[in-house]
Symmetry: C2
Subunit: 259 residues, 2 copies
């Protein structure tokens, strides 16, 4: 099931996307109250092309892992994959939806895309054993961990570099019926392939990440867990379009503008 958040010009709502997106026949059926528990259909249905998709969740936190594909660690000049996941947070104010512009701040000379698979937490949880980690997952979406590379290197702590407004595009929707252990993940800039990997290459896999993250802090419904980016990161420039595709989910596309 594909769960989207959208607006038809009035209040934002959650809905289930049905039908083929490729043929332009997809519709979104409004649900209430939200997907983090039992929900019902309101009966309203829109053509997908008639609504504006929003970030599929409003997370209380975006908890991320760095250096989680070995080839990306190498391209960043690192010598070893970290034994433990390297955790960092992006603020909720960085989250935008599909189609929303990524705005490059004037105080950075180098802003990179980082295509990632994102886990959407389905329930409040803490100390989740890896063997039961998938029980707390509502589904998966695409994310772009946009990063001001120069600020990341200058600051040491990554918060500013990864925390600018618009630096966390997510979407286009949450796929709830998916085995995410071996999916193709690709990032393009203006249609040109830049990142091309598979989630089976995650150093710390999805159950391990959920176990580690939930041992460090309580996870809440709607929280986003970003699983790291593969090799191929590179700069974004105003006027370009960046797209992150995860097999079985869809494509998250965002234009790039100067702030």
């Amino acid at each position: 099931m594909r769960i989207a958040r959208f607006t038809d010009g009035t209040e934002p709502a959650f809905g289930v996307v049905e039908g083929s997106v490729e043929t332009g026949e997809a519709t979104v059926a409004t649900i209430t109250p939200h997907p983090f528990g039992a929900f019902s259909f309101t009966g309203a249905r829109h053509a997908l092309g008639d609504v504006r998709l929003l970030a599929p969740v409003l997370p209380s936190k975006v908890l991320c892992v760095g250096k989680n594909y070995a080839d990306h660690v190498r391209e960043m000049g690192g010598d070893a994959v970290p034994q433990r996941p390297v955790l960092f947070l992006k603020p909720s104010t960085s989250v935008v939806g599909p189609g929303d512009p990524v705005a490059l701040p004037a105080d950075s000379d180098r802003v990179d895309y980082e295509g990632e698979l994102a886990i959407v937490v389905g329930r409040l949880c803490r100390d989740v054993p890896a063997a039961r980690a998938l029980d707390v997952v509502l589904g998966y979406t695409c994310a772009n961990d946009v990063t001001a590379r120069d600020q990341q290197q200058a600051d040491g702590q990554w918060t500013r570099a990864k925390g600018h407004d618009t630096f966390c595009p997510v979407g286009p929707w949450i796929e709830t019926d998916l085995d995410a252990s071996d999916l193709a993940i690709r990032t393009t800039v203006d249609g040109e392939l830049r990142q091309d990997s598979r989630t089976k290459l995650l150093v710390h896999d999805i159950p391990s990440l959920i176990a580690y993250m939930s041992a460090a802090m309580t996870l809440l419904p709607g929280d986003l867990l970003l699983t790291g980016t593969p090799a191929g990161v590179g700069p974004l420039n105003p006027g370009q379009t960046v797209a992150v595709t995860v097999e079985g989910i869809g494509t998250l596309t965002n234009p790039v503008v100067a702030r």
Copy 2:
């Protein structure tokens, strides 16, 4: 004015604390809907001792600065105060209120208190000039940036070390009428003085921090901005009580337990 968040056993509410806390005559007068705009008194009033104080805000983010007192930079073995503020985030799940226990996780051998002055953001803002920074401040409270020192050193990124549940006690209330530019700040453990400084010694002062932070990301009403800790940090052990006092605000007291 002192604005608290509290419960009398039913729904949490905001209220204004009036009268002398020292003599035990203080009361809290319930306000509605919240302090981030015009509010009114409901007419309900409780003795302060009859209610349980909660964290005075539920922040969308807790944005913090490291290395912002020169003497603390020196005690941590640092050689130079950073030219720019070092920003990091604590998750909202780390926030607890006055009297709530700080729970030491089993996977750390060294958890430190870090007493700090916290700014409470009063309105949505971005790119706030330093000259107008105080316009976006609702008030100030006390905070404890509890840190698993061993994890901070092992991870490089500080998110896990500073992000455990209960690692961000704040309170006891928000003081809205305060010049915070030169206040005494003190931390005690079991009544013994451990940190003793003044906010005039902040490397990056309050207007500069607000300008810098709001240039990096949008700030929302209720967001907490922690201003850094002075020298004297040290470990907490189960059974101890840690207290952070900021002149003109009050004292934030928390027991320490093993998780």
